[in-house]
Amino acid sequence: MPAAPPKPNRAALDAAFTLVFSQGRSPPSCPVPNDTDLLNRIRDKVTNASPTECRDALIRIQRLSHDVYEVCGEFREGAYGTGEDAQAIALSLLEEKCPGLDEKEYRTAFAVGMMWTAF
């Protein structure tokens, strides 16, 4: 039986989210800062988290940054409809793809993804 995935460290997730979605050089392909730099910044911010927890947090948030790009691209093409529900569908899809974050983070990620995909 496969081992259950480790429970994410909330503080490390917050730090990774802020780096990628509030302070990042967006979109996700950006080479600066690189993964090592990002990881060091998370570890500096959350000193009581283990290196594994920090790496896990970064991977989860980077996954979110890639998924949000796809979801926002599909939203723009009308894949979720064109009415008021379309955004709610996009947000719930994002949560399904990348579970474990809170509503504010999904909404922020969605807004940032809409900016990335505008260009």
Binding site: P27, K104, F110, A111, W116, F119
Partner: protein, 272 residues
């Protein structure tokens, strides 16, 4: 020497005034520092030494006001003035200025690499020097104040708001204006068009056509590049203000002509 009673009283008053002045200075310093960190209505990004917990406050500009300002050709002059203030070589005779354009997934990073290669490579030290800018600022590190202002206006967070409540930096705010994704797209689009137009005053000042480098592989037709920037590039090319190059691959090297397609007439078709 013994002090007279008058002298003692004068010293007390002086000490009192000195304390008041010091306290007033501290209060003013605190207020200025708080205003700088909080942003308030000023487009001042938070400094890295601001104490943590001082939130940036979003600026709730009306979308119609912003669109009108960006449609005005005067905004190109403003952006040019900001650019030259940060990097005087952009307005100096002889400088070879490069402007970056990107669209589509992955291309932001590709553009950033080219920008750094010019600004931190031999071209930057050549005579005359080369300088590369993009829509965000005069290099990869220093943003145009107008760009920072737009970031502080959080157009996409505001468009994603529900019933007038928007989430910015994890905090809820009430937006006095209704903002849609169409507004946000047009604001960024008009900004990008005026950024493109900046090639003309730059070419006039330097006397050298601007080289424009476009990483647009996989870009869609209805996004900023094909909708707002390419039409302006075509006009500028006709005027002789720009030379336009399209990257053939994500790692195209600006020093290798074989890595590029020349001219807007040969622009790669958009994807989808």
């Amino acid at each position: 020497m013994a002090q007279s009673p008058d002298s003692s009283s004068w010293n007390s008053k002086t000490a009192c005034y000195a304390i008041i002045v010091i306290l007033a200075c501290i209060a003013v310093t605190c207020l200025v520092f708080a205003a700088t960190c909080a942003g308030n209505s000023m487009p001042v990004p938070c400094r890295t030494d601001c104490p943590s917990g001082a939130p940036l406050i979003p600026v709730f500009t009306a979308p119609a006001e912003k669109i009108a300002a960006f449609k005005d050709p005067l905004f190109t002059r403003q952006l040019y003035a900001e650019a030259v203030t940060y990097e005087p070589l952009l307005g100096t005779q002889g400088t070879q200025v490069h402007m970056g354009f990107w669209s589509g997934k992955g291309n932001h990073g590709n553009m950033l690499r080219l920008l750094d290669a010019i600004n931190e490579g031999p071209a930057a030290l050549a005579v005359p020097p080369g300088r590369a800018i993009w829509d965000e600022g005069v290099n990869a590190y220093y943003n145009f104040p107008s760009y920072s202002q737009m970031m502080n206006e959080h157009w996409y967070e505001r468009a994603a708001g529900v019933n007038g409540t928007v989430i910015v930096f994890g905090r809820a705010y009430t937006d006095p204006h209704t903002v849609t994704f169409a507004h946000a797209d047009e604001i960024w689009g008009q900004y990008s068009a005026r950024y493109t137009d900046m090639a003309e005053p730059i070419a006039q000042a330097t006397g050298v056509p601007v080289k424009t480098w476009c990483f647009v592989q996989g870009a869609k037709a209805n996004r900023v590049f094909y909708t707002y920037e390419l039409p302006q590039l075509r006009l500028l090319e006709q005027k002789g203000a720009v030379e336009v190059y399209f990257a053939k691959t994500p790692d195209a090297d600006w020093t290798k002509p074989e890595d590029w397609i020349n001219g807007t007439a040969n622009a790669p078709p958009p994807s989808g």
